[in-house]
Amino acid sequence: MTALAPEHVTMPVLGRLSPDASRAEQIAHIAEAARQIRIQDLKLVHFAGAGHIGGDFSAIDVLATLYGAVLDVDPAKPDDPERDRFILSKGHVAGALYTTLAAFGFLPVEELATFLKPLSKLNGHPNRTYVRGVEANTGPLGHGLPIAVGHAIAAKLDGSRRRTYVLVGDGELQEGSNWEAMMTASHHGLDRLTVVVDRNRLQQGATTHETNDLDPLDAKAAAFGFAVVEVDGHDHGALLDVLSSVPVEPGRPTFVIAHTHKGHPISYMSGNVAWHHKVPSPEQLDQAITELDRLQQEQLDQEVAAATPGTGTTKHEGQA
């Protein structure tokens, strides 16, 4: 295994589509971003020899959807007071965040080659003073949600339409500070605040169910005054529809339970607790990239089939 080097950075800058792009175009854009981000993130973790690949991969589809098509943010104006805010509360998936920020023009792509190196700006947890687009220096869990609530209160005081999104891990919800903040959010009727839970059901070494069960999470969030939506956290179309249409209930903050799998969609990682912060071997890296390419081809085939009248149905009937 060689150390992380510039030649391991292959992430293209994807940027944002025009606001006039169709939903299908947006979804295709998000899918390609998510694929590229996963490939790059795999390389970062493999060559740097560290990282949180499992949690990265459960969160990447949410990140790609937010930055690809939802957030009103502009890398040319990172300090615009009216920008939407995205706060990554599960700061240990910094690798996924850096790669996403690079994909959408906030971070020079070549800087990814410094990930976790001595004196790099790309610490194992994000630092807003080093990386444009990072809104809070997270890492200790249970911090992002109160910060997001504070920003949403500031926006409300300003009479602003800007939105606040925060991504929290599900295990992280064991921290009581989240529930303090959720009470504050509903008390203030912060309906431009959206909490997205990366519901991968795994924490460091076991399931949330085995550790300190969160269920019924939907009922808990509802009891704390949130409008609760459940979504497949790897379905870009579903994520796009939910995240771009909040608030779902005027006067209430939104709680999106994004059902995900740690390590998704890599066969040997997905849902496997061992991949919390395991590093893929050279063979595993190759296999993962091969799988991502195959999935992309399958997706393209499906899109072609869907776009060709009758084809999809015929194929389906033929198999039945």
Binding site: P81, A136, H151, E180
Partner: protein, 323 residues
């Protein structure tokens, strides 16, 4: 209490009228908020104990009371700062600095957010309520946090001046706001300069470095020493971090020893900062007065006297240094 209550008044400092710094705190906060719409208050149910009713009345939308939830309180303040507001977090210092220490470290200091932390009733102000409510540790643990200015005002004038400076500067600040009545030490035209000490009494035998509720006691101790022919310099050190190193080294060079006196732990407080400085640059004798252990029940005055920080106690420490 017949004197006029200015620092220039004649007679012993210990006979001057005394004031609750919280009044200056809230008056200044209201004044600042009138001219700067960005200023908001953030509290943990501590509206009454922070004397913030006047602020609440003037700016009902700008007082965010998260209830009894300190982690949320500091995180919300960091988020408000992200949104361009200037939050003054106002809560009992024990809960603010202990319960929310990780939020102070990560969300405020490390994230470099423009949040002002106002530790109400610090030290042994809540003496009778016991060590859970006493906050003698706040200076020590905040001194260990990078990117945090720590101010311990000694009277209402200094409290107001520190608040005005805190509102102007872009960055994390911790200000202690005492409920213990203290005499006025500074004149009305006193200018607070962060990181700068003020010699409030000249002297060349020994130096007493102090701040907060103990500063007037240091002055009273100097009065006693003067009666014995001992010339004690009294240095007011409102900013514990960053420390005025020059003032400390001048005291080390020009007098025969330094007594520090503060309403906090002997470990890691002002005394520790002074000792670290002289050890590195100009070793001299230093006597550190403060609290060593969880304190028993008693009034703040009682506990401070008991810890050797009555005027007599401070004078005794100076005498011992010179002996």
């Amino acid at each position: 209490m017949t004197t006029t209550g200015t620092a220039a008044a004649t007679g012993s400092i210990k006979d001057q009228p005394r004031f609750d710094c919280r009044n200056a705190y809230v008056e200044t906060l209201v004044e600042l908020a009138r001219t700067d719409h960005r200023i908001v208050g953030v509290v943990n149910d501590s509206v009454g104990s922070s004397k913030l009713d006047a602020f609440k009345k003037a700016f009902p939308d700008r007082l965010i009371n998260v209830g009894i939830a300190e982690q949320d309180m500091v995180g919300v303040a960091a988020g408000l700062a992200n949104g361009g507001r200037i939050p003054f977090v106002s809560a009992a210092s024990c809960f603010l600095t202990a319960r929310a220490l990780e939020q102070i470290k990560a969300d405020v200091s490390y994230s470099d957010r423009n949040v002002k932390l106002c530790g109400m009733s610090p030290g042994v102000a809540y003496g009778e309520l016991g060590p859970t409510h006493q906050s003698i540790e706040d200076i020590a643990w905040l001194r260990a946090v990078d990117n945090m200015t720590i101010v311990v005002p000694a009277d209402p004038v200094e409290t107001a001046a520190a608040m005005r400076w805190a509102a102007e500067v872009d960055g994390p600040v911790f200000v202690r706001v005492s409920r213990m009545a203290v005499p006025a030490v500074h004149d009305e035209d006193y200018a607070f300069v962060p990181g700068r000490a003020t010699t409030v009494r000249e002297g060349d035998d020994v130096t007493i470095i102090s701040n907060g509720t103990i500063l007037w006691r240091a002055l009273a101790a100097a009065e006693q020493l003067a009666a014995e022919g001992v010339s004690a310099r009294v240095v007011s050190m409102p900013t514990v971090k960053p420390l005025d190193v020059d003032a400390v080294l001048a005291a080390a060079r020009e007098t025969r020893g330094i007594v520090t006196a503060e309403e906090s732990t002997r470990a890691g407080g002002l005394g520790g900062a002074v000792a670290e400085t002289v050890v590195a640059h100009h070793p001299t004798r230093v006597s550190i007065l403060g609290f060593d252990a969880f304190q028993p029940t008693g009034s703040a005055e009682f506990l401070i006297d008991r810890a050797g920080m009555s005027p007599e106690g401070i004078a005794d420490a100076a005498r011992a240094l010179l002996a």
